[in-house]
Amino acid sequence: MQKAKKLIGLALVTCMAITMVAGCGSDKTSADTSVAAGSSVVADSSAVATDTTKALDPVELQWYVVGNGQPKEMDAVLVKVNEWLKPKINASLKLNVFTWGDDFEQKMGAKVQSGEKFDITFTSNWALNYQQNAPKGAFVDLTPMLDEFAPKTKALLGDKAIKGASIDGKLYAIPTNKEMAHNWGFLVNKVLAEKYKIDLTTIKKFEDLEPALQIIKEKEGANGVESFQTITGESAYRLLDFEKLADDNVAGAIYGDGRDTKVVNDFDTAEAKSMFTTLNKWYKAGYIRKDADTITDFSPPRKAGKVFSYVASLKPGKGAEQTLSDGVEWTQIDITPPRATTREMTGSMQAISVTSENKERALMFLELMNTEPELVNMVNYGIEGVHYKKLNPTTIEQTQLGKDGYNNGLQWLFANQFNTYLFASEDPEKWAKFKSYNDSSEVSPIIGFTFNTESVKTKVAAMTNVKKQYFPGLETGKADPATTLPKFTEKLNAAGMGDVLAEMQKQVDAFVATKK
């Protein structure tokens, strides 16, 4: 009896504690939303008023991005940036550069989920997933605000980019103005190619590389040179350039050349099968290393000059860029034509958090980042005369302090890449080439489409597991497609591929219908 009483008492106390905590929680959120709503109303009216007067309150804008971690000289640079910003929009910037991977993902995930206050964050299809977070209400819908606070940015990006980055017609983040298309091809070690007089101009498609691989295997194989470096994820399979609907791990794509909008299992198309067969042949001939399906540390052999060729994502000047960073001369061979898909549009963008207390000011700041070369270069390269020296109006050289203390390498992230300075080692025509690359790109028939996995979530996860089991063998040539491919397809079917493809087709058709 005594014991039962005690237990009941304990249960009651626990219940009370739980309800108290829960009560606090809900109270707080409701208060938050009311405050947020109130402030946005006030801000709206004040923003209208500021068209004529400069009565903006001083605010601090917190901006989180991904990169190589916080540079040492950040504080010094921010002082200058803020001196510049103050008279323009009366705001001061606090920029935090987190590190690739968990550092950025976990921290931003916690901030978004817990509703912590901040203003701007980097988002994309590969870090702090835009397509998942935006519909959940993490970011502000910028569509109605663009005309008032960022008209120049809107014009600059153009309809193509804005549509491509929108979800259900709503733009939740400003894409970085950079190369907005992709193509795939080879990077080939120039020294080795010249040594054996290999004519690279004859290589127009994937199979054309074979004679060269044979020569390298015969002459340099003994020196440990890999004829054709293949790694999982960035393998020859990319050259087929399917437009994937979910992510790379999930079967289901349309043909990249935009011939139609029919969803197929891209892993089991005739094109894929013939490629796997060729790769398998190459693997058996020893052009691909035996443990290709498991290696992840692919960069040291490239730098050591022990790789003859590999498949890479290209853009104008990619070969020169890679030559600089590797210290090995690379020539690029474009195989696929440039294409613009949703993926490029959402590859690098800045979103404004719904928890921000200064949403308008944050957008005004992004407008300045996109339109003012002085600001974007300061954020990219630091202070002139301290972190870099100008060689001519568009070319700079980093000082030692700049190299050690402010070397972000994030030109593709901070707003408008076309306004940034170039290094002396870069092609002075880089931006012109980028522009014509963008203009020449074929636009995907389903640009702006994002597959919503919600209704087939578990099946997608099951398919991902199957892919991870079978695909590395196929894409590196280790597995024989004649036996592995049917098994792979069978397992995918068992994991529910039929339903997933049907759902994809349904969503694609609905998307195409709204566009007409």
Partner: protein, 304 residues
């Protein structure tokens, strides 16, 4: 004397099995030590030699380059080193004090509410609030994010160690000693500090060692709670470097080109050098605690 030998012979195992057990543990120890030696070896190797010859226990081309890089790249690592040491010392002292006191109170049979308090601790071992509420408590309620307290407070009390300590007090500190000190006129604090704690030294040392390890090796708290790069500890810098390299090696669609970014991160040997530096102090801590360690862990079993 002869009786002693008798006991010994009945308790000892056959020489063959004795040898087998020894062999087993020797192999196990080697399996633990070899990777460590390899890490040390690689950290002293020249970077280019690694790409051409692979990893070697004894460096073919000896080089201190990686250690130079670690100390040149910054005050960041040196500062993190200092922080880690400070956090470990302060954190261990505070947490051992709290665990010792809490466990003592719930081990006393004459404390009326001990079961309730024991349950409160025990409860957290089975259920927790989940990540987001956990995060919100520290950031929105306690506001310790971005301060050094974020390293210490979440690790202060550990339910499992409280349980171990409680058992330790119950088995090693007889009630009669506490009673007699009370009769002699000692207050509760005096009893605790002068009578109970010295008897519980072995248990305290064991927990102190575990907590030292926990504080030293912790990278999760800065991952969640620290944004300011000046407050990162050593393990976290190591963790985020390795994690970034892994992430970049797999992420193919990063706009800047993942290979170009990878080139900027520390090389293989530098990573190994960081590992060696991170292991350093904790190896020094072991001999310190070893005396008590075995005793502390065998608690609960019948002892001769």
């Amino acid at each position: 004397m002869s009786q002693n030998e008798d006991v010994k012979s009945t308790n000892s195992i056959k020489p063959f099995w004795n040898g087998m057990f020894n062999l087993m543990f020797i192999i196990y120890s080697i399996a633990c030590i070899i990777p460590l030696l390899l890490v040390i070896g690689v950290s002293f190797t020249d970077e280019k030699t690694i790409t051409t010859d692979g990893y070697n226990f004894i460096p073919k081309v000896f080089s201190l380059e990686s250690y130079k890089w670690v100390f040149k790249s910054g005050d960041a690592i040196v500062r993190a080193y200092g922080l880690s040491i400070g956090i470990t010392i302060v954190g261990t002292l505070c947490s051992v004090a709290i665990i010792a006191m809490f466990a003592y109170v719930i081990s006393r049979k004459d404390f009326k509410y001990r079961n309730i308090f024991a349950f409160i601790v025990f409860f957290t071992m089975i259920l927790n609030g989940g990540l987001v509420p956990w995060y919100m408590v520290y950031t929105n309620f306690l506001h310790i994010n971005n301060t050094l307290l974020a390293y210490i407070i979440p690790n202060l009390a550990n339910a499992w160690y409280v349980m171990i300590m409680r058992t330790f007090y119950q088995t090693n500190v007889p009630d009669s000693i506490i009673e007699s000190s009370k009769i002699d006129g000692a207050g509760e604090f005096r009893t605790f500090i002068q009578i109970v704690l010295p008897l519980a030294k072995a248990g305290l040392a064991t927990i102190a060692l575990f907590q030292t390890l926990a504080f030293w090796n912790d990278w999760y708290l800065p991952l969640m709670l620290i944004d300011n790069s000046k407050l990162y500890n050593l393990q976290y810098i190591l963790y985020k470097t390795l994690n970034a390299i892994q992430y970049l090696a797999q992420a193919s669609n990063i706009t800047g080109g993942s290979a170009a970014i990878l080139a900027k991160l520390p090389s293989e040997t530098a990573r190994m050098a960081m590992c060696v530096l991170a292991i350093g102090p904790i190896i020094l801590a072991y001999p310190f605690f070893q005396k008590y360690f075995v005793k502390g862990l065998t608690v609960g079993a019948v002892k001769g």
